[in-house]
């Protein structure tokens, strides 16, 4: 996979794309501050990962005090939370949902499965690395990660947003052909895909 250079970006030592941080004016900084204080989640719950979320937003840990809350559709959400392993079949849904979200958008990989397939690492149907298909801003390691870990990640993400370092959305645009190639290895886009490719925007 390292043969093809990503279109606009550079590769790190693992052959993964990296991207330049965007310039930010004052307004953008204020907006990013607001984004950090108001993060709306879209959950992609495949299996066991989701069980850790109810304690996170109910009275025990109360996620809402940070302005974080669940949202119904990708259009409204800022953070894509992938809780659990992906199968080959579901990558398509992930990509579709991700592309429907609006910039700036952040992806959190929740649990070990998103990093390396976790306990399903040897299954033919498991996607081992989500980062090949969509840019993941932060991973939460663990099987399962406790709510404390989740909160720590959120704080880290807030930090990154305020500093302007959470640029997964830009990375995706800049290196679309790289991601696209990985995606095409897994699934085919049907005639009704209808989503614009970020490159063409």
């Amino acid at each position: 996979m390292s043969e093809d250079e990503p279109t606009g970006g550079l590769l790190d030592q693992d052959g993964r794309p990296i991207t330049n941080l965007p310039e930010r004016g004052f307004v953008r900084k204020v907006a990013d501050w607001a984004s950090a204080r108001s993060m709306w989640l879209l959950w992609y719950c495949t299996g066991c990962g989701a069980v850790e979320l109810p304690p996170s937003f109910t009275s025990r840990y109360d996620m809402e005090r940070y302005g974080i809350g669940p949202m119904a559709t990708p259009r409204q959400a800022d953070i894509f939370l992938i809780t659990g392993y992906l199968s080959v079949k579901t990558v398509k849904r992930i990509v579709r949902s991700y592309e429907q979200m609006q910039d700036p958008k952040y992806v959190l990989g929740h649990g070990s499965c998103t990093i390396d397939g976790g306990m399903y690492w040897d299954s033919y149907a498991t996607v081992k690395d989500v980062g090949l298909y969509i840019p993941v801003d932060l991973y939460i390691a663990g099987c399962m990660p406790r709510p404390e870990a989740i909160f720590q990640t959120f704080e880290k993400l807030q930090d990154m947003i305020i500093k302007g370092e959470a640029v997964g959305w830009k990375k995706y645009k800049d290196n679309y052909s790289w991601y696209r190639k990985n995606q095409d290895n897994v699934f085919k886009r049907g005639p009704d895909w209808a989503l614009e490719e970020p490159e063409l925007r």
Partner: protein, 630 residues
Amino acid sequence: MNLINEPATLLIILGTGAGTALLLWKVRWMAALMSIISSAIAAGVVIHTGLLGKIASNEIWEFEIFNDLSLTLGTNWFSYLFLASIAVLAPLVLIYSWEPMRTRQKDRPFYGLFMISLVGAVGVTMARDLLTLFLFWELMTWPVILLIGDGRPRSGKAMKLYFGFGMLSASGILGILSIVSWSEGGVAYTDAVNAMADGSTGIRIAMVLLGAMAFGTKAALAPFHIWAPAAYGHTEDPFTAFFSGGLSKTGIYGAFLVVDVFIGTTILISYGSVNGLTPIGFFIAITGAITALIGGIMAMMQDDAKKLLAYSSISQLGYIFVGLGVGGSTATAGALYHVLNHTAFKAVLFMGLGAVIYRTGEYRLSKLGGMIHVMPLTFWCFLVGIFAAAAIPITSGLASKWLIYEGALEKGVGILVPILFLASAAAFLYSFRILQGGFMGQLRDEFKDIKEAPITMLIPMIIIMIALIVVAFIPGLPMELISRAMADIGMEAPEYSLISLESGVGSYSGLVVMLAVVAGFITAVLMFFSRPLGRHIDLRDTFTAGEEPIPNMDKRYHYAWKFYAPYERFLRPYFNNWIGKGWAKVYKVSSQVARLHRSVMNGDMTGYIWLIFGAMVLVGMVLYRYGGWF
């Protein structure tokens, strides 16, 4: 030039058009051209005379038939209001019909029938005696039968319903004519007024009931409304606009004639009144309110777009009856205002829908969808029409309904207003249903390539749309005409200025409301354009829980079928067309009664001889008892 004072001029202009259109019906474009020209001239004459303000109220033009019987015609401001709304609408609809009728129904003289009907409607508003009224009434009613039934399924049933109720309406007028003739020996309107002044309570009540039968039928007043959805649903699309927008107004005109001219406020009040509300008026108003409610709720449950609009028409005309029944200056002005409003917006609604049907050939909402993307101008016209129908303040629709509400409140009629509010809630429901089903939602693949409606169809719609919006700023403009019309029927118009209306309990300023809306608009636009414009994305790019739609799935992704299913389940049992079933029952029972002759006429020869003998005995007994025989 003061042509309208010679009312025959109008009739001759229109009649010439009708005659040529009828004779040349094989050459469709000639017929269309003749109709358009003659109706446009007529409309011009009407507008010109109205603008000059020279309506001679007492001039009556006579055409002698027998030596003691003549047809009389004349106009005053009251009938001018109806005349103008019909005559001005006609050329617009005719221009509109140019394109869709070019290819359709080659075997029927569409334009000829249309023009005859127009002549009839114009004649009705100009008649000055009941005979002339009846004559033109029939002339207006009959051609429509042939215009119903453009090959859609069950149009035969629609024709039959229309025919039956047309006969009922005609009998009603004949009944009125008999009453007046009995009472005064003449049939002029003045005789009718005298007849009511001299008559007993029974005669007056008979007059009201017969009037409801005669004119309520035409204006689709419950329980005489069941023909309307069928007929409006099945007439040719261009004609429906005129049918619902123009012809139904003659029914309203007749109702006003009976209640406010023949009977009059003085007589109505002589039966006692509560806060100025009379028992007869309350009866009419409550019937109107129920009509409005039934129409609204039935409209909400339709999938057939034309039927939806037809029921909506019933509902809107119900408001007019409320205004008529409540009476008094405010409510009457509201009713007359609503006549003008309804003429405009119902015409534009049926035109817009007709344009969609013309392009797609589809009238079921569940099969349409997404027309905004291919027919945006049509959509705008339709939208303004819908806004006016739902009385949204940015169109002229609110002023009339506001007057009716205020009139009812002035008289302290507590129960009418909630019913009307509910009816208008139903109006929002059906309005949105037709917008969502027809114009919103996803565009079907087979309609991807259709074009905007032709220019001849758009122009009339745009004219009406602009009128609807402009009048929203200046509700006093129609009030000028309405106040003159009310003066002619002996009423005083409510206070008004060019931009505002006053009632006893409140006020409405079209301009200020519009300014508030404009203020909102400026704020919203500032807010909206503070950020870059949105990125346009494909219609199929919607939230589907991550699932990629199956190819051609978009046909099923249009939510329009049984749009209000939870309420349909709940309301169907109560609004299950029981009025229609009641009429069907009447028909069935009368058929059975009619079949009783089989027991007499059973083909038995000896039986006939006995019958003859029996008749002889019977007549003999009658002669003996009453004739002084023996």
